[in-house]
């Protein structure tokens, strides 16, 4: 048994409080002059007197136990036995050469640290996918794992969370006390994702369903002071595959002014003379004709999207316009076009590459000092009106109408220390914490009931 917050155990001496109060209050016996001793200490109540003394001590013991239980609840005990760690090794195209090697070495390092049998590795190279030590895969509670109902956009729910292992694409599962979701690494081919899902679904109580569509940013709970993760899923039209990404809620200061200047320069200088790459795409000229030149910034205030749109947070942005949203996690640059097919311009590979490079360079310097790296810049498209989520910070958009929105998501991650959390909590431990918590709460209720019964009914 170990504790997540062991410092609460320093409060354990408080458990002696009922005893101290009882013995301390007794102190020196005071002399009381009474009319007569006729009714005091009568022999016929000897048994009753014993019962009362027993009752008093029982109450004291119950109170001591209650204090200990509350302290244990605060300290959050967990199972000290096997620790299970999940590692997912991404062997996709983006993980070629040096990156892949780095990830592999990190993974082996993990195996050394945690012991091979305790690491559950999902590895795949190309089409092959295998699991090490599947016999020792720990059971996971359904409620502890995020799931979707298969419809899109889905909202992940559950409590299993993850964190990046290193700057490579190797990741490790983690859990945390206050919620979060299981992760998947990014940029996997569709069939691989499906395989991973299928594999995970075959495990006990592990329900994950995949689908395709747009995504929803769930922004609730962002103000909490613990690392907050979310898993999302969306259809990346650019690469025509599925991917999941994990965003880390680190407060990364972004200098919007600087960002804007760089972006403005980029848009001003970029030669939008590309021809459509397919029949679905239109020329830049078409886009420009339908555009209004606006850029709207969104800050982390608790306001809906529309309130920002309608206000004067508009910045001329070269020949382009859009909404730029700063969420604190990532920077989202929303471009909104009428009609929707004008967005096709954004699928032009050269345009995207140029934009991506610009953004990467822009953030690279300012992130490097803060142990944050830019994972990638991804683009997604969504058709439909911009629908502000009520009381949301970042808002979201849903494609069910004519509007086309393009999201340029600059994914950046704080480089983690080598899994400080992973050493602390695993799936198994999370489960054990929850079980312990539940048991302790039940025990506390039981103690309370007993004490009440002793005080009032016996």
């Amino acid at each position: 048994m170990s504790f997540l917050y062991p410092f609460f155990l320093f409060l354990l001496p408080l458990a002696a409080l009922p005893l101290i109060l009882f013995t301390g209050l007794r102190g020196k016996k005071k002399e009381i002059i009474f009319s007569t001793l006729f009714l005091i200490r009568r022999e016929e109540f000897r048994d009753e007197r014993f019962k009362q003394r027993l009752r008093l001590w029982l109450i004291i013991i119950l109170r001591i136990l209650m204090i200990i239980t509350i302290i244990f609840l605060l300290a959050r005990p967990r199972y000290f036995g096997k620790r299970w760690h999940f590692a997912y090794f991404d062997a996709s195209i983006s993980m070629k050469e040096a990156k892949a090697e780095r990830a592999r070495s990190a993974l082996f390092k993990l195996l050394d640290i945690f012991g091979e049998k305790r690491v559950f590795v999902i590895d795949f190279d190309g089409e092959r996918l295998f699991i090490k030590d599947t016999s020792e895969v720990p059971p996971m509670a359904v409620n502890d794992v995020f799931y979707t109902d298969g419809r899109l956009p889905f909202q992940p729910s559950g409590k299993v969370i993850c964190a990046p292992l290193s700057s490579s694409d190797a990741w490790i599962h983690l859990d945390s006390i206050k919620g979060g979701y299981m992760y998947f690494s990014a940029f996997s081919p569709e069939n691989t994702v499906v395989k991973v899902y299928n594999l995970l679904q075959s495990l006990d109580s592990f329900e994950i369903k995949a689908g395709k569509g747009s995504f929803i940013y769930s922004v609730s709970g962002r103000k909490m002071n613990y690392p907050w993760f979310f898993v999302d899923y969306r259809d990346n039209l650019m690469e025509n595959n599925y991917f999941f990404y994990v965003a880390l809620n680190g407060k990364i200061p972004v200098r919007l002014d600087k960002k804007l200047m760089v972006l403005k320069a980029f848009f001003d200088s970029y030669p939008f003379t590309l021809s459509p790459v397919s029949d679905n795409c239109v020329s830049v000229d078409t886009i420009l004709q339908g555009c209004k030149r606006q850029v709207v910034f969104f800050s982390k205030k608790n306001r809906g999207l529309e309130s920002y749109v309608n206000k004067a947070h508009k910045v001329p942005f070269g020949k382009w316009y859009g909404y730029m949203m700063h969420s604190g996690i990532n920077s989202f640059l929303f471009f909104r076009f009428y009609p929707h097919d004008t967005a096709a311009q954004f699928y032009d590979p050269e345009f995207l590459k140029a934009l991506s490079d610009t953004l990467k360079n822009m953030f690279k310097e300012e992130r490097a000092e803060k142990n944050v790296f830019i994972r990638d810049v991804d683009f997604s498209i969504c058709r439909g009106p911009l629908v502000p989520e009520k009381n949301s910070v970042a808002g979201f958009y849903v494609c069910n109408g004519d509007t086309v929105a393009v999201n340029i998501d600059i994914q950046e991650y704080r480089k983690p220390s080598l899994c400080k959390h992973s050493e602390e909590v695993s799936f198994k431990q999370l489960s054990s914490i929850m079980v312990f918590q539940r048991l302790l709460v039940y025990f506390l209720i039981l103690l309370f009931v007993f004490e009440t019964a002793l005080l009032y009914f016996l």
Binding site: L25, R26, G27, K29, K30, E31, I32, I33, F34, S35, T36, L37, F38, L39, I40, R41, R42, F45, E48, R49, Q52, R53, L56
Partner: protein
């Protein structure tokens, strides 16, 4: 107990008793015996041996039946007030209430032209009298008495029962915190002798509620012994014992034709006297 402050405030005990009684007592007691009087109560059929003087001839004229008239007999009574002046009555304001009750009842019965007598456990006895000056002598004694020492219930009740000559009321004013068998014997004996015994159990608020806590050394006023108890633990048992004691005491009074009135020193004595008067004999 020193009641002089009380007397200073309200005047003499006599005045206080008068005040108490005049306010509460509005009727008069009646004898259970029937005799010759002017107050008609009921008819009953004539039986052989009945005095023809009491045949109601008017009823005979109307109904052609011989009916005999019955009358309430107003008799004089001896009222013996027994006052516990032992040390335990010194506790809190018990004695204060006790002498107020005693005084009020003495005054009450004297007003009704009954003969009143006072007996205390310290040996004082005033024979039954109707005379005001002797009554005032009793009040003077009550004003100056201080409860002290202990008494042996068996001997005291024996002595008291010897002094009761005529039938009537016997009023015991005490805390009754001693062996119930003495009282039980006494009231049973009195009942056999056709005397009615009424008890006023005067307790202090602390005796009634036992508001003590923690470890304590209890010392009785009358006892030499010191008892070490945990008041928190003892409270429940003490209250249970007190409740049983009261219940048992009350049963003894009731089964012998009397009744027990309990009060604490924080209650007004008016309610106790009111209960006594309102409840009849």
């Amino acid at each position: 107990m020193d009641i002089s402050p009380f007397v200073e405030k309200y005047g003499s005990l006599f005045i206080k008793s008068k005040f108490l009684v005049d306010g509460l007592y509005q009727g008069k007691h009646r004898s259970i015996t029937f005799g010759y009087s002017v107050e008609f109560t009921e008819h009953r059929p004539y039986e052989v041996g009945d005095d023809l003087r009491f045949v109601d001839w008017k009823v005979y004229a109307r109904t052609d039946r011989f009916m005999v008239k019955k009358f309430t007999d107003e008799t004089e009574m001896d009222v013996y007030v027994f006052l516990d002046t032992s040390g335990s009555m010194r506790y809190e304001a018990k004695f204060h209430s006790a002498i107020l009750i005693a005084g009020a009842l003495l005054y009450l019965f004297n007003t009704q032209k009954d003969r009143v007598s006072l007996y205390t456990t310290s040996g004082f006895f005033a024979p039954p009298t109707r005379r005001k000056d002797e009554l005032k002598e009793m009040f003077r004694y009550l004003e100056n008495i201080t409860p002290q020492n202990t008494f042996i219930p068996d001997e005291v009740f024996m002595d008291f029962s010897i002094r009761i000559k005529k039938r009537g009321y016997i009023i015991l004013i005490s805390d009754f915190l001693y062996d119930i068998s003495y009282i039980e014997r006494f009231i049973r004996f009195m009942h056999k002798k056709h005397r009615t015994t009424v008890g006023f159990m005067v307790l202090s608020e602390k005796e009634e509620k036992f508001p003590f806590s923690g470890g304590a050394l209890f010392k009785g006023i009358e006892e030499e012994a010191i008892v070490e108890v945990n008041a928190d633990l003892e409270k429940r048992m003490y209250l249970k014992a007190l409740k049983e004691h009261k219940k048992s005491l009350s049963n003894h009074f009731k089964s012998n034709g009397g009744k027990l009135i309990t009060l604490t020193d924080k209650d007004g004595v008016e309610s106790a006297i009111s209960m006594f008067i309102g409840g009849g004999r």
